[in-house]
């Protein structure tokens, strides 16, 4: 005499429900990707997307009494062969006023290629108050073999920037992405 509850149909039913649970968990892992972006755009945390988008300048008043220091940093990932550095090392800016900072890039890969600069800002939560009107990071940059050039970024700091922030760091990482974006040359 076996247990009365061992009917295979009962097993099949539960296995089916559990399989749906498993599929749901698998899907949830992928759902975390858009959820993560949504969370970042709500909180403005390290929001790369807003840093990579052009901002239309309105009639922002210039706050001549306030000075914010911005440092510029250039990073290279461990793969790729480039010279990449900031020409403008640091600026003292008034919120609301438009500024330009220049970076320098030199293609040492030995062939024509494309690079993508990825911005980052510290402290990460002030991304929402840092506006770029033009940036070399908005699009992939094509470089000929051994080409070197100056890459400008135009920006202004929102006058609404929280008062306790006196110092920002804007960093770019310069990725060699030969298969992405425009074909070189």
């Amino acid at each position: 005499m076996s247990n009365p509850d061992n009917r295979p149909g009962r097993h099949r039913n539960l296995v089916f429900k559990l399989s749906i649970f498993v599929a749901g968990s698998f899907a949830f892992g992928f759902a975390l990707v858009p959820l993560y972006d949504v969370l970042c755009s709500i909180t403005g945390l390290g929001n790369q997307k807003s840093l990579s988008r052009a901002y239309a300048r309105g009639n922002d008043a210039i706050d001549q009494h306030r000075v914010v220091t911005i440092d510029f940093i250039a990073n290279l990932p461990s793969v790729g062969n480039w010279e990449f550095r900031p020409i403008t090392k640091s600026l003292e800016v008034h919120p609301g006023q438009l500024y330009e900072a220049d970076f320098f890039a030199h293609n040492l890969t030995g062939h024509d290629t494309t690079a993508q600069a990825v911005p980052d800002i510290v402290p990460s939560k002030i991304a929402a108050w840092f506006h770029k009107t033009e940036c070399f990071c908005f699009t992939p940059q094509s470089f000929k073999r051994d080409e070197q050039r100056v890459l400008p970024v135009r920006f202004f700091v929102d006058p609404q920037l929280p008062g306790y922030i006196e110092h920002l760091t804007l960093a770019y990482t310069f990725y060699d992405v030969p298969n992405r974006g425009d074909n070189p040359g």
């Binding site: 005499m1 076996s2 509850d5 296995v15 559990l18 698998f26 975390l32 993560y36 790369q48 990932p77």
Partner: protein
């Protein structure tokens, strides 16, 4: 199903084992055989993963580079973790579940015996794949078991092998977990209500749900790594608009429940052993069940305490710090209930109890260092130091592994029908318990003094404690050879074990003869046949529910 057809025959001569190696082990659908396969596999992986650890301690015996080049050293730390987590600890618990759950709930076998066979036999293939990476160009994975991109994607040819190995391990665990849930939900003997189940069964039921919720998320994360590496997606690739920190969020959403997957069954084992050797039923059975469920729930909302230093906002740091600290409440309930079970009991110190007591003390040390790490501002100092290494080895070695050892010493006479050599078992325990502390306790000091983890070389001021730690490591490693020897001897003879084995064991498995017949509970046990006067696991058959 098969057992209904030959139940009458099986009743007459229980040991109806298939003949021949192939029939017996490769095609077996018997839960005891599959449990044995899992446990033997776990033991083999324990020694392979342990040999990697010995190489690590050998290199760290002195400052400077002596034996391993840095890349191989990092491969050893990575492979040690992957082999121990997915090869030793998890299959060890699944093996115990296979052996014990049907016997403890009065079921004739696992609910899905063929799937059971399949979920075991996936594992040797998974680990052949994983271990083969040691031989491929570029060497094995060396970026840490957490596989953070972009570092992990700079591994050589090992990347796809590692990822597919993890897919296979995940599939095996998920199938095993489904089997455990279906068995427990559908196959309990009449009268075995949920709140009469032994705590080992309860903790495994909850663990199985953690497995099916967490392992698919890991499968998703490594799939994203795979497509980032080979198919041009940019989930974690900053150049294409992705974010490497997102991998950490997804990984630890799996990773923290994984921590509890490796400790909840241990809680169950300790809850079986301590009452037996205290001569008292478990104190606060219901509270233990609810504490286990609370821990399982909390495990899903604390993941970012592994990533306090990635640049989260203060509010997130606070949330993850406080929710992490909250876990100490249900865990404290458990520790105090175990202590209270022993209070005024007639405690005896047979080998399983020694392991359980060591678990109680040493796991608590791991819990306390975990609380220290939960303090977000302090974690900025402890992050990626040997303090973290000391912490998780106290919870995984003296927690999970000690519980598995205790479980084997507890149930081995039931499995083999023989008592083992008690003197040798005590030697195994005391050598392990002493050396494991020599091995891991100094790593707290090293970490607090600033020694980073995952480095083959270190500043000279760390030399002394590293030497002590390595000596402890070699001692612990060598002591473990007693374990397979003891099991081998016990399987091949010794004093006959009675069906109860111990003085006052509680639970259905002790009503079966020793060794447990190949087919057990073909006829569902009647719950009144449990010894009166000894309530089943504190739930109290006579006066509860």
């Amino acid at each position: 199903m098969a057992y209904t057809e030959h139940s009458a025959a099986a009743h007459d001569h229980h040991d109806h084992k298939p003949h021949g190696f192939w029939n017996r082990w490769l095609t077996t659908t018997n839960h005891k055989d599959i449990g044995t396969l899992y446990l033997v596999f776990s033991g083999i992986m324990f020694f392979i993963g342990g040999s990697f650890a010995m190489l690590i301690r050998l290199e760290l015996f002195r400052p400077g580079l002596q034996f391993l080049d840095p890349a191989l050293f990092n491969t050893m730390t990575t492979m040690h973790a992957l082999v121990m987590i997915f090869g030793a600890v998890m299959p060890g618990f699944v093996g115990l579940a296979n052996w014990m759950i049907p016997m403890q709930i009065g079921a004739p076998d696992m609910a899905l015996p063929r799937m059971n066979n399949f979920s075991f036999w996936i594992l040797p293939f998974a680990f052949t794949l994983l271990l083969s990476t040691l031989l491929v160009p570029g060497g094995g994975p060396a970026g840490g078991w957490t596989m953070y991109p972009p570092l992990v994607l700079q591994t050589g040819s090992a990347v796809p092998l590692m990822i597919f190995a993890i897919h296979l391990m995940g599939a095996s665990s998920i199938l095993g977990a489904i089997n455990v849930i279906v068995t427990i939900m559908n196959m309990r003997a009449p009268g075995m209500t949920l709140l009469r189940m032994p705590l080992f069964v309860w903790t495994w039921l909850i663990t199985a749900y953690l497995l099916i919720a967490a392992m698919p998320v890991l499968a998703g994360a490594v799939t994203m790594l795979l497509t980032d590496h080979f198919f041009g997606t940019s989930f974690f690739n900053a150049a294409g608009g992705g974010d490497p920190v997102m991998f950490q969020h997804i990984f630890w959403f799996f990773g923290h429940p994984e921590v509890y997957i490796m400790i909840l069954p241990a809680f169950g084992i300790i809850s079986e052993i301590i009452p037996t050797f205290s001569g008292k039923p478990l104190f606060g059975y219901d509270a233990m069940v609810y504490a286990t469920a609370s821990i399982a729930f909390l495990s899903f909302i604390v993941w970012a305490h592994h990533m306090f230093t990635v640049g989260m906002p203060l509010s997130s740091e606070l949330f993850f710090m406080l929710s992490t600290m909250l876990i100490s409440i249900p865990t404290g309930v458990k520790v105090f209930n175990w202590a209270t079970t022993m209070w005024r009991g007639s405690v005896s110190f047979e080998p399983p109890m020694l392991w359980a007591l060591a678990f109680l003390f040493l796991f608590s040390i791991g819990g306390f260092s975990g609380l220290m790490l939960a303090i977000a501002p302090a974690d900025f100092q402890y992050q990626d130091t040997y303090f973290v290494v000391a912490h998780f080895h106290y919870v995984l070695v003296t927690g999970a592994i000690f519980a598995i050892m205790g479980a084997v010493y507890y149930w081995l006479p039931k499995w083999t029908g023989h008592m083992y050599n008690m003197t040798l078992a005590r030697w195994h325990f005391w050598l392990s318990a002493i050396f494991v502390n020599v091995l891991f306790f100094p790593q707290h000091f090293l970490g607090l003094a600033g020694m980073p983890r995952r480095v083959p070389d270190y500043a000279t001021q760390f030399t002394d404690w590293n030497m002590v730690s390595s000596i402890g490591g070699f001692g612990f490693g060598l002591s473990q050879f007693l374990f397979p020897y003891l099991i081998w001897k016990c399987a091949h003879g010794g004093v006959k074990a009675t069906s109860k084995v111990w003085d006052t064991p509680i639970g259905l498995e002790w009503q079966l003869p020793s060794p447990a017949p190949y087919h057990s509970w073909v006829e569902a046990p009647s719950m009144d046949t449990l010894d009166h006067g000894v309530p089943a696991h504190g739930a109290g058959l006579d006066h509860h529910h």
